[in-house]
């Protein structure tokens, strides 16, 4: 069968293809809500981290009023770690929005590859470094926290911190695995588009 015959068949089929049955007002409303929820999801993540940063800063300076140099160093490390995390989230958000569905297939795929490569870096070395330094910072504040809080509360806080960090690491590892599979698929797709 020649390509012209196939084209004829294809065009004949087009008139008989079932309609997508798209309800336009519903699509418009879904499109608006999807865009809103995507922006909110990204912004919420950054907002939560920012609020945490502000709260621990205010708590540290206004409520705790710690005096040990070790505590100041620990707090400084925690502050910088969290601030770095916020910057990385913002960069990741900007990169995600740079993936344009109206670009060519190759450019769209390349943008997605860049996004996932960046996620790999963020979720890999950067996150490990940030979580580790955050934990070190919190540990450095330990002596002064111990002096100011009842023992059971001190143990409770640190147990909660260790368990929280463990859950976070497990969750991040799961996310990394999925994103690495996506990255491999995208690299294969990019090669397939380029192949002659």
């Amino acid at each position: 069968m020649q390509i012209d015959n196939l084209k004829e068949l294809w065009n004949k089929a087009k008139t008989e293809v079932p309609s997508a049955d798209v309800d336009i007002p519903a699509i418009v409303s879904k499109a608006k809500s999807k865009r809103r929820s995507s922006i909110v999801a990204h912004a919420l993540n950054i907002a939560i981290l920012a609020v945490t940063l502000v709260v621990i800063t205010l708590y540290y300076f206004l409520v705790m009023r710690y005096r040990f140099l070790l505590s100041h160093v620990g707090f400084g490390i925690m502050f910088v770690s969290l601030a770095l995390r916020i910057v990385l989230e913002a960069i990741s958000m900007i990169r995600a929005y740079s993936i344009d569905i109206t670009d060519s297939a190759l450019r769209n795929t390349e943008q997605a590859v860049l996004f996932f490569k960046q996620r790999k870096r963020i979720h890999g070395l950067y996150t490990i470094a940030i979580v580790a330094s955050y934990m070190i910072g919190f540990a450095l504040m330990g002596p002064e926290i111990y002096n100011n809080l009842p023992f059971y509360l001190f143990v409770g806080i640190y147990l909660f911190f260790v368990v929280g960090a463990f859950i976070l690491i497990v969750k991040i590892r799961g996310g990394i695995r999925k994103e690495m599979r996506d990255l491999q698929d995208l690299l294969a797709l990019r090669d397939e588009i380029r192949r002659e």
Partner: protein
């Protein structure tokens, strides 16, 4: 009615069957998935409409959104590579009318089945060829050179011919 909504309606009316047919061919005739992907295409169309600069035709622009949405759907649903439906279901993809002869039905069924066996990128390229897209248009949609498109199309046509022969033999 706003200008944006009016333009969206116009694009939808002119191209919704093209989008649905491309999606249907891409997912090897799975009507439910094709509808989901089509809907995603039009959601992205609405959300991107403000950025349409008129540098290409609406059809080329919509091809890009459809191709990218189809390829993205692969990541969202890895099972799609293995989706296949039998001949009876495939012929059911069409709205039958009296003018659709049995010969045409089986030819169309074989065509969908053969396209479904091609790699995803080849599937999208050959469907645009069948849809009478110019090579320059396909090059623009895929982001590759026109020469590369010609080479690819030549190879895909040969593969498709073999697959169609196998379908008829079956």
């Amino acid at each position: 009615m706003s200008a944006k909504l009016s333009l969206f309606n116009q694009i939808y009316a002119a191209h919704n069957q093209m989008v649905m047919q491309l999606c249907l061919g891409f997912v090897n005739g799975d009507r439910s998935r094709a509808k989901d992907i089509s809907q995603e295409v039009f959601i992205s169309t609405w959300n991107s409409l403000d950025r349409f600069k008129g540098e290409s035709s609406h059809k080329t622009w919509l091809y890009r959104i459809t191709v990218n949405t189809c390829l993205k759907s692969l990541r969202d649903n890895k099972q799609s590579k293995n989706v296949s439906i039998d001949v009876e279901q495939r012929t059911d993809l069409l709205h039958h009318d009296d003018s659709t002869s049995h010969v045409q039905e089986s030819a169309l069924s074989a065509l969908y089945a053969s396209i479904g066996q091609l790699p995803e990128v080849d599937r999208l390229i050959i469907m645009m060829v069948l849809d009478d897209a110019e090579y320059s248009q396909i090059a623009d949609v895929m982001g590759i050179s026109e020469v590369n498109v010609r080479v690819k199309v030549h190879r895909i046509k040969q593969t498709l011919k073999k697959l169609m022969q196998n379908e008829y033999a079956d």
